[in-house]
Amino acid sequence: MRDLMRILRLYGPYRSWLLGGIVLALLTILANFGLLALAGWFLASAGIAGLSSYAAQNAFNFFAPSAGVRFFATLRVLCRYLGRLVDHEATFRQLAGLRSFIYARLEPLAPAGLAGDRSGDLLGRLVADVDRLGEFHLRVFTPFLAALFASLAMALLFAALAPPAGLALLFGLALAGLAVPLATLALGDRPSRHAVALRAAMRADVVDAVQGMAELLTYGAAPAFAERIDGANATLIAEERRLAGIAGFGAAATLLIAGLTMAAMLLLGDALVLSHRLSGPDLPLLALGALAAFEAVGPLPQAFQHLGGMRAAARRIFEILDRPPPIAEPTRSPRRPARLDLALRGVRLRYSELGPWALDGLDLAIGEGERIAIVGRSGAGKTSLVNLVLRFAPYQAGSATIGGVELSAIRGDDMRSLFTVVSQKSYLFAGSIRDNLLIAKPDAGEQALWRALETAELADFVRTLPEGLESLVGEAGTRLSGGEARRLVLARAALRSSPFLILDEPTEGLDPLTEAALRADLDHLAGGRTQILITHRLAGIAEDDRVVLIEAGRVAEDGRYGDLRRQGRTLPRLAALEAALARL
């Protein structure tokens, strides 16, 4: 229930729309009720008048009731139309807002806080689960409140005519509008929740299947994967069949209760007519009115059977909204320091409370404008160092400062604005080459784009494409070759000027000729910026460059490359290894 209340709270800004929708739904029900009750009474009265004297026929007011019938008919059509418009407009506005709200909450979580999530599953929350929340308002909340008020109003009207009739109607409506929906709620809870979970799993699986297609096929895992999706499909259909059965039960029960209430109304009315407490024409009024009254509660059983699913969808969304960000952010950053020197002292960092230390007492100082190369085996902590300065991961001990300001006092966005990063994880978006470049600098002109492509040795390639800059790169850049994708990432980085440049294996996956050409361009790209090069290869590091070797989350060696290569502990071995490999 708390989840549902929370959904409603999200509708805050649309409170008046909500109210309008409920009032219009209420009017629709009442108009229909009025229409049928009046029509029944009118026909019976006219019939009775027709049987009586000529005087009685003349005295019969023909026009007022027929005008009433027309009024109710028009009111009903109008209110129904407007009510649906208002309800849907409010809901979809709210849903659109909710989507960007959820995405805005995903952003501080990324990347560490989302590392365990499948992107297809997150997508499902943004698209399908949000849609399902809309159903809560459209199918449950508004109809239920409208039915509640309408039922009370209609019972009161009947009670004004004859109190037992009012009571009987209220009883019937309560049965169909409360008892039956509660029954379908209980019956539908599990299947509808299960259906939400199954659809979510299926979406994530399909995304995985499409993106990992080559491996799944060649490893022969495709049939097993297809079987898994198909199993979910079959279970989903079975759950849906169960829900259809429950829907049938709900509709049947409502129909039966409506019919029996009407019959009871006739019996009751007849007794009252015989005891002259009601007139004859009141009888069809009661019968038809009772029948019409059930229009109010008709949609409730089907809506309530899906409530479990709506709640499950809400939970999936709230789970993201409630996730604590992996890193606590200050609300404001201090003024940008005059010098941007990085100083890390005894920094320890790990990604989970019990996990191994990724950085374990790291000491490192990088002065502004310095060029350093960081080397180390995979898993030594090079990427964690990058995550640390980009504020993607918090450090648990030690101190990390930039220009003397502790990193934890700086907002992540402000910290990241100082860096340009090229890494394996750099993502290409499914738009054009131009779209991908503009991410770095939205206002970049044509010339700047081409200059960036030249820097990354990609301009010639783009010129050969018939669509040039507008060529689509495919999802995650899959339409480009590995080397082209890599260079597009570099070109994008070249567009952005920031005090720091982090190059994480920038030339990995490039052929030696391109690599050699790029190295020169990269020096040019770095300019006077502080450059942190993470590399596995010592080739290309100049004698005077500073090299930092990281081992097991700690700085093992730090100094001029020339010195370390001669006097270091590990570096001489690495250099010899590489030279031997290259000379083979």
Partner: protein
């Protein structure tokens, strides 16, 4: 690849979607027939119910009958309600039965076909779009099959039955209804074309929204790095809002249609009621026929109104089905046959092989080469030279423009049973995909029944065993999508371990040693050479230390084989190969010069 038909054909196809859906719904026939029969029976019951009710009310009001006199009628009425309730229940189940099997079948067909189309098709598509088509798209067919189609039959049957009941009782109201009824279908035809365009647009927007969101979620870290997350949030809001707008445009048409139809229906009711009122007042007619007809008039319009409501469902289903059939109509890249590939490390021959990308960009021209059985061939060349494309062609993912790939010197790849071919080989692509799950799950993708010992052995070969053993949960450690939780080099080695685990006679490695540190790389190169013993290995690489161990080196340049030979012969020749690796050496040597 998608466009294997002309645009004209496309239009014809689209026009036939109704028909194709009905064909797809063949398995739904019994459910549909039951739904129609139950609906029609319910319609007849409504007539009986109206007659009973009118009789009871007339007796009570005009003949002042006692309760005892009308008890049988009441009993009959109650029984009628019970039967109607049962019919309603049964018709819900029948309607779902009609849709359920079609949904299940189509979804399965769609997913099977996606796998058949393979990675070349997938590269041109957006996975979120495909997922939405398989889930929401198939879902959208349900109202069409379960509601619209039965309604289409009922709209012809029920009003006719009601008219048949009304005419003998009161021909005048019968005439009114007879003339009012056709207005409704006419109006729907008028609205139809507009609604169709809107629904198509709405469907496109949903797919685009899904695709954009997945892109935004997968690239969220990159967006943050560029400080573009705020703009992305605004973009998400804008795209969501566009979706709202098109959805509402469709709904507005649907709501207006129902409102107009409802208005006509109530106009009909009011007209009938007034006609009765006048005649009743003048004693020209009894109460029974009037009440009987009045009860039936709304029921007369009900199926027509229902048809209008479900007409929206039909439009939505057609738009979704168009996309579903588009995918189902796409042809797989390379035809596959049923021949079993010869066992063991066979040779692979490319003869006059030409290939183009899906967009028609020519990538490989007239390649003639042999990958000898049991030998390691390295494929080198500048980026974009077509190395990965060649691998994709050998895997059978890409359609050949001309030429052939022969297995064991004789059997064309196109004749091979594709799955049997894949069973023969282990492939590590350039950007290997790791799935969210445990490390063991990711490894067992290659061999489902592999023991833990086999997993450890593969991890050992890929130089990953110590890393995994140091993890508190070992093989059961959960990793995220794309290997989140592992370092780049560790993820790469896990992908390699998967290939080692498969232990297949043919090995295709596309830059499998990228992202590895020097020591690991040289160890892995050893491991790969060991593994490649007596296997046909195709290794795409940029690093000399991998390449030089190959028995044969192919140098690709601009889609053609520029040179081939061993490391020594190629180096001596001083051509493209020497140029390629001369550069690499000079960089290394320069730094070692002092």
């Amino acid at each position: 690849m998608l466009a294997d038909g002309s645009p004209r054909e496309g239009r014809v196809l689209r026009r036939n979607i109704d028909a194709r859906l009905i064909v797809a719904g063949r398995s739904a026939r019994r459910g549909l027939a039951a739904a129609i029969a139950l609906g029609f029976a319910a319609g007849l019951l409504v007539i009986a119910q109206a007659a009973l009710l009118a009789g009871v009310v007339t007796a009570l009001v005009f003949r002042h009958a006692t309760v005892a006199e009308v008890t049988p009628a009441f009993a009959a009425l109650a029984a009628l309600f019970a039967v109607r309730a049962l019919f309603t229940w049964a018709s819900e189940i029948a309607a779902f039965r009609a849709a359920g099997s079609v949904k299940a079948d189509l979804r399965r067909a769609l997913l099977d076909h996606l796998f058949r189309l393979g990675p070349a098709f997938a590269a041109g598509e957006k996975s979120a779009d495909l997922a939405a088509t398989a889930i929401e798209g198939v879902e959208a067919l349900e109202p069409y099959l379960a509601r619209y189609l039965p309604q289409l039959a009922l709209v012809a049957l029920v009003p006719l039955a009601i008219l048949a009941a009304i005419f003998p009782v009161d021909w005048m109201s019968g005439l009114v209804l007879l003339f009012a009824a056709p207005i409704i279908p006419l109006f729907m035809i008028f609205v139809g074309s507009r609604a169709e365009a809107i629904n198509r647009r709405q469907w496109r927007r949903l797919l685009r929204m899904s695709a954009h969101f997945l892109d935004a979620v997968q690239g969220i870290a990159t967006l943050k790095l560029f400080g573009r997350a705020r703009e992305e949030i605004a973009l998400v809001a804008r795209i969501s809002d566009q979706y709202r707008r098109t959805t509402m445009a469709g709904l507005r048409v649907a709501f207006l249609t129902s409102a107009v139809l409802e208005f006509f229906a109530s106009l009909g009711i009011a007209l009938v009621a007034v006609l009765f009122g006048v005649r009743l007042l003048h004693g020209a007619l009894g109460f029974f026929p009037a009440f009987f007809v009045l009860l039936l008039v709304p029921e007369f319009f009900l199926p027509l109104r229902g048809l209008a409501t479900h007409y929206h469902a039909r439009m939505s289903a057609l738009a979704a089905a168009a996309r579903i059939f588009d995918i189902l109509d796409a042809r797989p890249g390379q035809p596959a046959g049923r021949t079993k590939p010869p066992p063991g490390p066979v040779s692979i021959t490319c003869r006059g092989l030409s290939l183009a990308t899906a967009e028609g960009r020519s990538v490989l021209h007239h390649i003639d080469c042999v990958f000898p059985a049991g030998k390691m061939t390295a494929v080198v060349g500048r980026s974009g030279a077509g190395k990965s494309t060649l691998a994709a062609a050998i895997l059978g993912f890409l359609p050949l423009r001309s030429g052939a790939i022969l297995v064991d010197g004789a059997t064309p790849l196109a004749a091979l049973d594709r799955e049997a071919w894949w069973r023969q080989l282990a492939y590590v692509p350039q950007a290997p995909r790791l799935f969210a799950g445990t490390i063991a799950d990711n490894l067992r993708l290659a061999r489902r029944e592999a023991t833990d010992e086999a997993l450890y052995a593969a991890l050992f070969r890929a130089r990953l065993l110590d890393v995994i053993q140091r993890l508190p949960e070992g093989l059961s450690t959960r990793i995220g999508e794309g290997g989140a939780g592992l370092s780049g080099g560790e993820a790469q080695r896990l992908a390699l371990a998967r290939a080692f685990l498969k232990d297949a006679p043919i090995l295709i490695l596309d830059e499998a040693t990228a992202h590895l540190d020097l020591e690991t790389e040289s160890e892995i190169v050893e491991a790969i050479s060991d593994l490649a013993q007596n296997r046909t290995a195709i290794v795409i690489a940029h690093r000399l230390k991998t390449v030089r161990r190959a028995d044969q080196i192919l140098v690709l340049a601009e889609g053609q084989i520029a040179e081939s030979g061993t490391h020594e012969t190629l180096r001596a020749r001083g051509g493209a190969y020497a140029a390629l690796f001369g550069a690499g050496i000079s960089v290394a040597e320069r730094s070692c010069a002092t």
